[in-house]
């Protein structure tokens, strides 16, 4: 892919926007379409794009395998951690209403955190799977 200098430059310019968009989708899921899952996928697609253009080897150096695995687990743990936190706060599992005096505010908070967990896991898993496949051929 070394010949496609244009592609490489363009990608470099594009990546921040992709990730920014991912962040927007992540945080904006409450008000418009989108949410943790879509954001995670978009975030991962940034890495995928990078990997496709610059070679997977380079991409892998940026995101270590071990880090990916930690992130994969972390997202899931954040989500279920919120559920357990609700237990300790005196509610049922995943009952966000107990996080604040106002149930709606509690829910808002809970939803924000779990969407974050979803985003992290999805982004990490998608990236990891992509790397796994592309790391296979050589």
């Amino acid at each position: 892919m070394h010949e496609f200098a244009v592609l490489r430059v363009a990608t470099k310019q594009l990546l921040p926007f992709i990730w920014l968009f991912a962040l927007y989708v992540q945080t904006h899921g409450d008000y418009g379409p989108g949410g943790g899952f879509q954001a995670g996928v978009i975030f991962a697609s940034g890495f995928i794009l990078y990997g496709l253009v610059y070679g997977v080897g380079k991409a892998r150096r940026i995101v270590q395998y071990r880090v990916l695995i930690i992130l994969v687990a972390l997202g899931a743990l954040i989500f279920s951690g919120v559920g357990v936190w609700a237990l300790f706060a005196g509610g049922n599992f995943l009952e966000y209403a107990v996080f604040a005096d106002d149930p709606a505010a509690g829910n808002h908070l809970g939803i924000f955190i779990i969407e974050l967990g979803v985003g992290i896991t999805v982004a990490a898993v998608m990236t990891a799977i992509f790397f796994a496949f592309t790391g296979r051929s050589h």
């Binding site: 008000y31 418009g32 379409p33 899952f37 999805v122 799977i129 796994a132 496949f133 296979r136």
Partner: protein, 116 residues
């Protein structure tokens, strides 16, 4: 829009059949997974079609709208899509490993190899 409704269901039926046919009649494992994808999305289409309300809009509450389509099927299908992609990726990983072990992804070919 009513025609669309009936039409949509027919489309879902036809897509289900095509997807299932691809899964069962293909010998190539990748193509089986493609068929599986089509089969699943066809079922998703049924859900989404069920969720549509005449004259409604997307279920994002806004001033000035009071008819919304049903959000529940959307939620369910969001989850189902994730499940589908998860299944597909595991399936593809298996296919890749199979190729490495057998040197082929054609079912008949592998069966022949295993019988030897």
């Amino acid at each position: 829009m009513t025609t669309l409704g009936v039409f949509n269901y027919w489309v879902a039926v036809v897509l289900t059949m095509i997807g299932l046919y691809l899964v069962m009649a293909s010998d190539n494992l990748v193509k089986k997974l493609v068929g599986l994808n089509i089969f699943q999305t066809a079922v998703f289409l049924i859900y989404i079609t069920i969720g549509k309300v005449e004259g409604g809009t997307a279920p994002i509450l806004k001033e000035g709208f009071d008819v919304y389509s049903n959000p529940l099927p959307h939620v369910l299908i969001l989850t189902a899509i994730v499940v589908a992609v998860a299944t597909t990726s595991v399936g593809l990983a298996l296919v890749t490993r199979i190729k490495e072990e057998y040197g082929s992804v054609e079912e008949a070919e592998m069966r022949k190899q295993d019988e030897e």
